[in-house]
Amino acid sequence: MIAGILLALMAGALISVQTLFNNKVNTVVHSHTTTALVLGMGFVASLCMGVLFEGADFWDWKAMPAWFWFSGLVGIGVVTCVVKGVRLLGPSYATTIVMASQLLCALWWDSAGWFDLEQVPFTAQKAVGVTALIVGLLLFKSKPKEKIRLLHEIS
């Protein structure tokens, strides 16, 4: 349990480190090159880990649907949008928006049962979660004047 939580926390922290590194790369080269470099590095590293953990079994690939070959295009969208978002908004604000958008999409698609996902009902707890997430995001980015007003509303 604890080991798993520590690993998950490490994964989250490493995502932040990766965002920082990608941002540093993007200060020197264009975002197209940044995206290619990031995905290329990820490809090589994942290939090494796969072969390391599974040995010869790694190469045993089953026949697969054609859309699998286009799954990488989504990764280009991820890296390009996140790098540009961070550059324009600053890392913390961009990360909070990316996360909120991610959670809302997941909630929406789960509730709708899209993409062959098992349909998950929209409950009161989820409604509270969405509200807390959005209010938290607005509060995080509130400007000094609004800050005072919002603080009054809370107290």
């Binding site: 790369v25 090159t33 990820g42």
Partner: protein
């Protein structure tokens, strides 16, 4: 405004990616999924670099060495994620990853690692973060 659109789209793509990765992982295995999605993404990204006439890769040698390997961290992120997922399931893992990410990003920006002026965190910001973490927990469990 443009930044907000990019960030929202980034979140949409991330969710699409994890949905696709889960389906591909079920079929081929997690590492095969990681190799396939990043490999095809890399090939397509190279094509985009070539088609758009982006020659800035010539300046890659000016990027500090560790930064160039940022993408390779993906392998460790995927490994930790898979292992944590097997131990604790989705709810605990997803929320722990997101909370660690938000706090680590804040810490790094506050420490000035991004090079821009360090952000000021006042009471509303802290309440905002606490509310967002509450939201993450409510949505994950």
């Amino acid at each position: 405004m443009k930044g907000i659109i990019y960030a929202v789209l980034g979140g949409v793509f991330l969710t699409l990616q994890s949905t696709a990765n889960a389906a591909i992982g079920d079929h081929l295995g997690s590492w095969q999924a990681a190799v396939l999605t990043q490999g095809t993404g890399f090939a397509a990204a190279l094509l985009i670099v070539w088609l758009s006439g982006d020659r800035s890769w010539k300046k890659l040698s000016q990027v500090k060495l560790p930064y160039r390997f940022g993408g390779a961290l993906a392998a460790f992120i995927i490994f930790s994620n898979i292992t944590a997922f097997h131990q604790n399931g989705a709810a605990v893992t997803v929320s722990a990853v997101l909370i660690a990410q938000i706090l680590a990003t804040l810490g790094m920006e506050k420490a000035g690692w991004y090079g821009n002026a360090a952000i000021k965190l006042r009471t509303p910001q802290w309440i905002g973060i606490a509310l967002m973490i509450t939201g993450i927990l409510c949505l994950s469990f």
